[in-house]
Amino acid sequence: MGERTIRLRINGQTCEARAGTRKLLADFLREDLHLTGTHVGCEHGVCGACTILLDGEAVRSCLLLAVQADGADITTVEGLADGERLHVLQQTFHEHHALQCGFCTSGILMSMVAFLRDCPSPSEEQIRIALSGNLCRCTGYQNIVRAVQAAASRLASPA
């Protein structure tokens, strides 16, 4: 029942597209914009795999309709690296083996980008609380915590 034309900025680029009014933002990103780095896990806001930045804030893209993003500025995991140069968090996740299957990783990266911006020198407990909204079934979180710690210190004193 119905479609709308929506305009948004996505990873720095302006885009205009038609979206069914009941289409979830997560599906719109993947199916219409072919940005498949955003993963869809539980589809009810629990797992965090679909987390993106909407106007700078980390949100679940499975709990938004695509039409609600009309006029918004969105960043997905595809927007983190600068060409071949990985984002600090991507680099530390790589170095600390903070991913195994990788399904949850893009959502965790997006959550942690927002978290480290708001809380640049977090304690381990703060990191664990911030990670609680993203489920990872492989790693046991230890290396994710280490990678976030490493990213925080690298952002504080860039080499």
Partner: protein, 295 residues
């Protein structure tokens, strides 16, 4: 799964939203932050004919000090409350409870009015607003009514909100200088729904005796649970740890929580009892500090 189809309506003003509600009533659902509604749509637990999205009604998002009250627009995001200097200063109980609401990603979208209207019995905000003696403003095209939180909650996921009404504002008494507050919650993992949570507000006499107490328990009943008889029995008593324990036991005896896969009824009641004693002790200690000026 994906939502079934609906007519998507996105009014820009409260007036427009109320007109749409008057027209569609029960067939429509109001979409605020969507952090409970979208899961229900995705799982097709709900199939509304119309979805009235109030996210573009900017006049419903504000936090204002009005004399002895705080007025909060119903569509104000929980994250905005968490970051508000006004809330920190004038409503510390709310600030204490907010970090327990799901995860920061959810609070980035979730609204105060959405959570209050959804009326999940394990949710933090209904308990806080009830403990504070807050009120909600319900508007329809025919006018508005101001309903105390305690009268707003009727049962499990059930409120006094009529199909043509929209919650537009929440009014909370600003904290007086002599009140001690505490919010405590237990869940298996941070951000999960509470197995039990307690909000407590206490004032004391300079000699340490209780002047007033309001204690609300979430997760143990269909509505935020309060026991005025037990609260009154506290007045005039010294708030020692023994008194707090007795009151907690008295409240615990009255509870018969639902059993589910997360916790047995008995376990929930035990948790609630322990949390009441702790929250009351913590609130009393803070109230006592008001008298010594160590606040």
């Amino acid at each position: 799964m994906k939502p079934s189809s609906f007519e998507y309506l996105d009014p820009r003003t409260t007036e427009e939203a109320l007109a749409l509600l008057a027209e569609h009533g029960d067939a429509a659902k109001v979409l605020a932050g969507g952090q409970s509604l979208l899961p229900m749509l995705n799982l097709r637990l709900l199939r509304p004919s119309q979805l009235i999205d109030i996210n573009r009604v900017s006049e419903l998002s504000y936090i204002e000090s009005r004399g002895s009250e705080l007025a909060i627009g119903a569509a104000t995001r929980q994250r905005a409350l968490e970051r508000s200097a006004l809330i920190r200063e004038r409503c510390p109980l709310l600030l204490e409870a907010i970090p327990y609401i799901a995860h920061f990603q959810i609070r980035n979208r979730g609204t105060i009015g959405g959570s209050l209207s959804h009326a999940d019995p394990a949710a933090e905000l209904p308990a806080v607003v009830t403990a504070l003696g807050g009120k909600v403003v319900l508007k329809s095209r025919d006018g508005e009514r101001v309903v105390p939180a305690e009268e707003f909650y009727l049962g499990y996921l059930t409120t006094a909100l009529r199909p043509d009404e929209l919650m537009t504002e929440i009014r909370l008494p600003a904290q007086q200088t002599d009140v001690g507050v505490a919010f405590l919650e237990f869940s298996r993992r941070h951000g999960d729904f509470a197995l039990a949570a307690v909000a407590a507000c206490v004032t004391t006499e300079p000699n340490g005796a209780c002047r007033s107490a309001r204690i609300v328990v979430a997760g143990v009943d269909g509505v935020p649970y309060r026991n005025p008889t037990v609260e009154e029995s506290l007045v005039g008593q010294p708030l020692t740890s023994a008194t707090c324990e007795e009151v907690a036991q008295a409240i615990g005896r009255e509870l018969s929580p639902q059993e589910d896969l997360h916790a047995s009824s008995e376990y929930r009641r035990e948790l609630a009892t322990v949390l009441v004693a702790r929250a009351l002790g913590k609130a009393a200690a803070k109230a006592a500090q008001c008298h010594t000026g160590a606040r």
